[in-house]
């Protein structure tokens, strides 16, 4: 049991709070219904940010943990619920969810792009590569890089750029969603 949790619990006697503050806790409670509604709203403006299955999984998590959090009081329960929702939304980012190039940072993507343009092989150390990226790397290593590879190289670059756009869109969408959950009544 952490001291942090102990101290937070200690500060939160519901009896000692004015009615207005208790009501604020109630209206600010992060319920599964609120999480579901916020995700649906986000999906209307940011289509394909989360699949239906992923949305259901995240709302299901909020439902399942609500019972376990019953004994925690207002603010603590809210902090845990919001934190878990934030982490799950983050875990659903295409940065971690799609393809093997998911582990590449924007800086690494930029290096790869520059290397490709210069016709050089970029050794992406300790990265798990997609078969597609492995193939390109292998062609470089064996000196088999030819003009006919150009099409697949451009396709790969487009794929990486598109992937980066998806990551950025996801980041913006979850920021809006978290703001809505934190601020909404």
């Amino acid at each position: 049991m952490s001291e942090s949790l102990r101290s937070n619990q200690g500060q939160e006697s519901v009896e000692s709070k004015p009615i207005s503050e208790i009501n604020e806790f109630v209206s600010n409670e992060i319920t599964p219904e609120r999480v579901g509604a916020a995700i649906n709203e986000m999906k209307e403006t940011h289509e394909s940010i989360l699949s239906n299955e992923q949305s259901e999984m995240i709302v299901g998590e909020t439902k399942a943990t609500q019972g376990a959090l019953e004994k925690f009081q207002g603010k603590t329960k809210r902090v845990i619920t919001l934190g878990l929702v934030g982490l799950s939304l983050l875990a659903a980012s295409p940065k971690w969810s799609e393809g093997a190039e998911k582990k590449l940072s924007p800086a690494e993507i930029e290096i790869i792009e520059k290397s490709f343009r210069a016709g050089k092989h970029y050794n992406i150390q300790e990265k798990k590569l997609s078969p597609e990226l492995e193939q390109v790397g292998e062609a470089f290593r064996k000196g088999q890089w030819k003009d006919e590879n150009l099409k697949s190289r451009e396709e790969l670059l487009l794929k990486i750029q598109e992937h980066q756009r998806d990551i950025d869109a996801h980041r913006r969408a979850i920021e809006e969603l978290m703001k809505q959950l934190k601020g909404g009544k």
Binding site: M1, Q54, A68, I80, L87, L90, S97
Partner: protein, 88 residues
């Protein structure tokens, strides 16, 4: 990354591996998300390593849309918080 969160992670209360993991996950995350995660870490500093393991499993389950794996994660999460609530 939100500076407050970065400072929190740098305090040395977490392992090098946990620091590297959370640094990579949170480096380009914007304010409201960082803020919520910081509050959670601040509340449960002893659970940051456990949250890391859960986060890796969540990433894999969400990527593959594996409901069975997800339900196990959620069950473990609920048990962990149930245990915490009993010790309060």
């Amino acid at each position: 990354m939100n500076k407050k969160l970065e400072d929190f992670l740098k305090t040395g209360r977490i392992s090098q591996d946990d620091y590297a993991f959370w640094r990579s996950r949170l480096e380009d995350v914007s304010f409201a998300v960082c803020d919520s995660i910081l509050e959670l870490f601040d509340l449960l500093p002893d659970k940051i390593g456990w949250l890391r393991i859960m986060q890796e499993r969540k990433e894999a389950a969400l990527a593959s849309k594996n409901n069975e794996a997800w339900e196990k994660i959620v069950e473990e999460e609920a048990s962990q918080f149930q245990a915490l609530s009993l010790s309060v």
